[in-house]
Symmetry: C2
């Protein structure tokens, strides 16, 4: 007889704080899973509250409301088992928890054991760690339940479940944020877990944007060889359905000497608790309707980043109640890419460009912006700033006297543009997008309240060289020119003074970007970076610029994290800081 | 024979990351303590790195450099014992540590046991908790060493030291940030510790501003009755010297039945480690030079807040390398108070005011600003914005058509002023101060990139009603008009449209402020606030405004925390947040 379970992974886009909406989504997924005759449906970590709820978790009222949602969901689970992420309060202590609900009844609650408190995570601010790994004995199948970080810590929860208790399925519910490379990192982790512990792994992840984070979905089911059996969509909601057959697992393990050796050698750090769920309603696979074919498709690595930016932007705009966005179109590559992302996120009818030429703007820039708008099919307003710039100069003349034109005047122009964007935002209710890239934000080559003005900074975590790669790949993928050719090939310029080029002030981007990646993302020292072949004077200058620009970044808009370390919650440097690397 | 120790508490203003400067200060204090024949000198928590060093702690190079500083300090401790806060790295784990250095030798290292990870604190992001409370046996005196949070957790480190091991002195090194009421909170805590454990307590705290935090000093020495024997200055560096006589302590304890009962009943959660330091060079009190008289003076509660703002501002400006500041003077109370604070922080020659009248500015406002500048003896530039405002209106006319004047035009004026301030900042290298108070920042009654523009927001954590109290107290204390009388009595107005008053848009501040304090600082629910006697519709409106303004605050400048919960690291609310209280 077949020993197996039909599993449904509900890869949902929930919204932080939208308890009623999230409850509704969860209930709908439960109904859908039932329609597909699934035996068990699993939801992401903290699915009821959204992730990360941050200091909402400090509000007792919020915790109560989240518990009420769970109470209302429980009765909807007749004939199915559901694993639902929520915030569990018990005797004044709060836990990041998974409700184990079966057949209309709350059977038990698992408390996340490993709480991440690094990078963007602050879970020890809110939660107490659990101490009790669980195995769910669903009919005759042992399922080890865990939450996110629990699978990232070696020789702990998962090994205790799979080795010392012989769990036959590992089910992990996650809200694991995206960055470039994370998909492979997770796949490798899950493959190793599956192979080392000879156990199939079901991994359900959140999707959606939440402030600076984007969750990519990419839920996975792997067999005990580490082979990927099913994959959730990337950056889209999905219900992944799979018939997981574990009939032969015990035989496979019995024959596997390395598994047996590991099993005997493993010293479990926890006592495990078994939760018995016998006699669950269950129709064998061969009498169930066939499942729809599930594709195992992965995006190209560059387009994956692009889709992360699209989803992060769409969700920030929509979840905050905006419909349309406005952004400045300079004719340069940053604003062009940002506009393209916005159009894919929101539709061309919801994106308004503004060109704001000064006397330092080339004719070409205006043309490039117009070409972009035409390629994207978006409206492009043209608002020249020269008269207003002259008004500023006249207004400040009694104070400035005949001091020479310097960055002050450059910044005034950028800030006039910032004011125009914000005026359009205020007048028409459009969310302003800013267009700065990670390279310039790193070294402070940007104007606070000028080009930095805006509610969301779409590409703030995208280094300039990657901006070019994204633009190129986008044009290729679409098979036509989205980003104008001239925008791609001309040398980058802020056009705030005559004949200005970025490279007058900064090293070339193909030198700057690797230095920044080493310093910002990898904490490399000057010596380590120089050892990679970079000029020491340039390295020192770049690092000095990064350190000195912390105050600007602190006042920047949020934007999508796509690298292993973004500015923001991920990198908490003091502004007042005399340390020199 | 007398049993006692001459203690020196070095209440220093160190700078985050300024390892060389901090090392120098510590060495100077050791020399000074020696000149006063002190037996032991104690420094604040993380004195070598400054507090909080945040993600600098993730850099191995920074940790190494901090260890090098300690290495260089150790040989300077001949004939004295020193307790020095530093970051200790041991087998890949990092600890918030106290070096116990005696007579030119590192004797031991204590690792902080309780790591705060709430409010403004993120210590679990960086440190592992210690597990080993220490008692230093200095000659025949048992001294229990601890770090900051260790004293805030009941029935833990201190009780283990004083009850189960009979420590005769509790020495705690802290970097405890200020907020209004904290001084009393700490005093009560220390008194209770002293009385309950019949033990004298020496408490040394940091002083100085660091980004949003200000440390108030206020180091204390209490006897075993809880009587304050010595107090460090508030908001100033100090070396507190005291001859602590514990000759009679064992007798007192022997006669104290409640101490004996507690001692017998107490079940210590830790095993304690004794560090033996016999034969330390020591001159008895009666053969030493008399110590200078140490005053036990405490500021008035309102002036204490004022001094916190002054120190926070001075240190932000100076530690970031600025000499002069610039701020807009509207004639209103917020900018007047901010200017007064800046003058006390930096001197009148370093504060430049700018009045930027529009057609909506009353003649009175310009006069009030001029009067303030005259009272403070500061320069006041007058830069009218009307012509520039008209240039904006003309520039935007083709886009705006005949849409009516609304908040867009109000914001444009505020942003022109922001641009002027920033232009002055850029041209002359002055740091721009913004002048918004906590009430308006709470409800979003402020313009992003307009009045919010600036490098430091001096009174961002000061509610409007407290702004008035501070202004009034300042005038009283100085015995003359600093804040002009007319500024104090006129109704608050943004003067961005005809006859505008704050109270047209907001509840009166004496209603608004208590609602905000309940909601923001105490996490009260709507029901709880209404139960205090406030109108439900108003409470709901205020809370909605607070929730909707998160995005503005996220882009605001840092400013001094003076309430139990400031916006910023202290209150981490998501921007994207559908939860409605």
């Amino acid at each position: 007889m077949t020993k197996g379970i039909r599993i449904a992974l509900a890869q949902l886009n929930v919204i932080v704080g939208d308890l009623a909406g999230n409850e509704q989504k969860i209930r709908e997924s439960i109904q859908q899973a039932k329609q597909f005759q699934a035996d068990l449906v699993a939801f992401p970590e903290l699915a009821i509250t959204g992730y990360p709820p941050e200091d909402l978790l400090l509000r007792p009222q919020f915790i109560r409301n989240n518990l009420d949602c769970l109470e209302r969901i429980i009765p909807t689970t007749e004939n199915i088992t559901a694993i639902i992420g929520f915030a569990h309060s018990e005797q004044g202590r709060l836990f990041n928890a998974a409700a184990i609900v079966a057949n209309g009844r709350l059977v038990d609650v698992y408390h996340k054991i490993h709480l991440p408190n690094y990078g963007v995570f602050d879970e020890k601010r809110y939660f107490e760690p659990g101490e009790r790994p669980l195995i769910l004995e669903w009919n005759d199948i042992k399922i080890g339940i865990s939450i996110c970080e629990d699978i990232w810590i070696q020789d702990s929860v998962i090994e205790t479940q799979a080795l010392s208790t012989g769990a036959e399925i590992i089910l992990n519910i996650s809200s694991s944020p995206y960055h470039s490379g994370k998909v492979e990192e997770r796949e490798n982790l899950l493959k190793n877990l599956a192979v080392n512990n000879r156990v199939p792994v079901c991994y359900v992840n959140l999707i959606g944007g939440q402030d600076e984070l984007v969750f990519d979905g990419n839920s996975l089911i792997l067999d005990e060889q580490g082979t990927i059996l099913a994959r959730g969509k990337q950056f889209e909601e999905d219900l992944i359905l799979f018939d997981l057959d574990v009939t032969d697992l015990q035989n496979i393990r019995g024959r596997d000497e390395s598994y047996q050796r590991r099993r005997l050698a493993f010293n479990p750090p926890f006592k495990i608790e078994l939760i018995d769920l016998p006699d669950q309603p269950h129709v064998p696979f061969d009498r169930k309707a066939k499942l729809p074919f599930s594709e195992n498709l992965k995006l190209d690595p560059i387009m994956e980043i692009y889709q992360a930016l699209v989803l992060g932007t769409r969700d920030y705009v929509r979840k905050n109640g905006f419909k349309k966005v406005v952004l400045g179109l300079s004719g340069g590559i940053d604003s062009a890419l940002t506009a393209a992302i916005a159009v894919d996120a929101l539709g061309n009818e919801n994106v308004i460009g503004v060109s704001m030429p000064s006397i330092f703007s080339s004719r070409g820039s205006l043309d490039d912006a117009a070409q972009l708008a035409s390629n994207l099919g978006i409206q492009n307003l043209v608002i020249p700033i020269q008269v207003t710039f002259e008004a500023y100069q006249k207004m400040l003349q009694p104070t400035f006297g005949d001091l020479p034109f310097d960055t002050t005047e450059e910044n005034i122009q950028a800030r006039i543009r910032g004011n125009i964007i914000m005026a359009l935002s205020n007048k028409f209710g459009w969310l302003a997008l800013s267009t700065g890239n990670k390279s310039e934000i790193s070294v402070g080559y940007c104007t606070l309240y000028g080009d930095m003005a805006g509610g969301f900074a779409v590409i703030k975590d995208v280094p300039k060289t990657l901006v070019y790669q994204l633009a190129k790949k986008l044009n290729e993928t679409r098979g036509r020119e989205i980003i104008p050719h001239n925008t791609m090939i001309k040398p980058p310029s802020a056009e705030l003074k005559p004949d200005q080029k970025d490279e007058d002030s900064l090293p070339p981007y193909d030198v700057l970007d690797p230095i920044l990646a080493e310093y910002v993302e990898k904490d490399a020292t000057i010596e380590q970076i120089v050892a990679l072949g970079f000029d020491e004077a340039i390295v020192r200058k770049v690092i000095r610029l990064v350190d000195q620009s912390e105050y600007k970044r602190r006042q920047g808009a949020p934007g999508v994290k796509i690298t292993p370390r973004a500015f923001g919650k991920d990198r908490r440097m003091p502004i007042t800081n005399r340390y020199r690397f």
